[in-house]
């Protein structure tokens, strides 16, 4: 016959063990943050979203993780939806984090950037934003 103190001490041990487990798991998660990421998101963009600029020579986006060049893309279109970049977007060969596409001389007007970023683990993200040439 087990008394109440046995159950209380067992519960306390269980609770302590549970809290230790949470601490260890949390630490493992934080420790794992140095590993590969999955979903690429823009860190910096040029031109910026919504920016009014003189005609840019390129669109450049730097992501928070490495991209898979074969499946990542960057397209710039004018207000009528016509693609204005003839060259294919390139991913920086060193860090694999920056994707850029050269632009022809752009006239005044609104342009849309559409990007697809496939991380090196296969996770796909996408985005779009506008900029205006004055």
């Amino acid at each position: 016959m087990r008394n109440a103190s046995f159950y209380l001490s067992t519960r306390a041990v269980f609770l302590r063990s549970f809290l230790r487990l949470l601490t260890v798991v949390g630490a493992l998660c934080v420790g794992g943050i140095g590993q590969a990421w999955a979903h690429a998101q823009p860190d910096t963009q040029s031109p910026l979203a919504g920016e009014i600029v003189s005609a840019p020579s390129e669109v450049k986006i730097t992501y928070n993780e490495a991209l898979e060049p074969a499946f990542s893309s960057l397209i710039v279109s004018d207000a009528k939806g016509k693609q204005v970049n003839s060259a294919k977007a390139e991913v920086d060969a060193t860090t694999h984090k920056t994707m850029r596409v050269p632009l022809p001389a752009l006239g005044a007007g609104k342009y849309q950037v559409k990007w697809v970023a496939v991380a090196d683990d296969g996770h796909r993200t996408q985005g779009s934003f506008n900029f205006t040439v004055k």
Partner: protein
Amino acid sequence: MRNVLTRAALGLAIASLTPLGHAHAIAGNRIFPATMAVDDPGVGDELDFQFGHIRTPNDDDNPGSSASVNSWSTNYAKTITPNLALSIGTNYSNQRSTGNPTVKGFDNLGLGIKYMMYVNPVHEFMLSVGVDSEIGGSGSKAIGSSYSTYTPTIYAGKGFGDLPDTLNWLRPFAVTATLGQQYASDRSVPNALNWGVTLQYSLPYLQSFVKNIGLPKPISNMIPVVELAMSTCTSGSCSGQTTGTINPGVLWESRAMQIGLEAQIPANRASGHSIGVLLQTHFFFDDIFPHSIGKPIF
């Protein structure tokens, strides 16, 4: 009648501290964050920790008395396929009320299953269905109930990135909602309609997709949010009565984790009188361990 309502309020308060399966939810340009009291519509590999404090109406005959509830909860979700996830969660609660001994222990074990049915990237829309359950008798006698509950639930999310350019400043807004009918294995326990709505404004979305206004970090990674976590009794003497909380707060997102802080404001008198707090730390395993435990089994 009053006891039933106060039990419902206390149950909802504790339930609101016990997330059942959050997800990294992406629909087009939109990332729906892992909201704290109302589950988001996504499916993913995640680990969530929450601490909550709130005062709830006491389940006794002393009008105006209340219990102070502290709760520590954790939930782990694992994808079986890219669209299907299982989740398991538990919650440790400490309840103190004047003149009564402190009640503490683990609540019943929560199990969940969620299937993402539909995603529309263009319109930033996501729809999922699932079932959340709590296994009766699996928690401590002081906190957990002897009966089980089962809650078939619909989860939806809609971002407003498809609004025209003339409404640019509204495009970072998104809403998510859940609707679930809770059934109890004990027929004497009232059933309830659990429903929730969130309204969120994503500053990362504003910066990257609408107009970069030069917000510095960490503000540029924040998502102000208001959550409504509600429960409406649908049977028994409490039928038609609604309790819940309105939670304004902010979520901060990094590449692989999220931190959240919300107030819990009782939605009506039956839900309590004091403002509580929710604190969240959330890890996206699909981002932290993309090649191992963070990817679907199949």
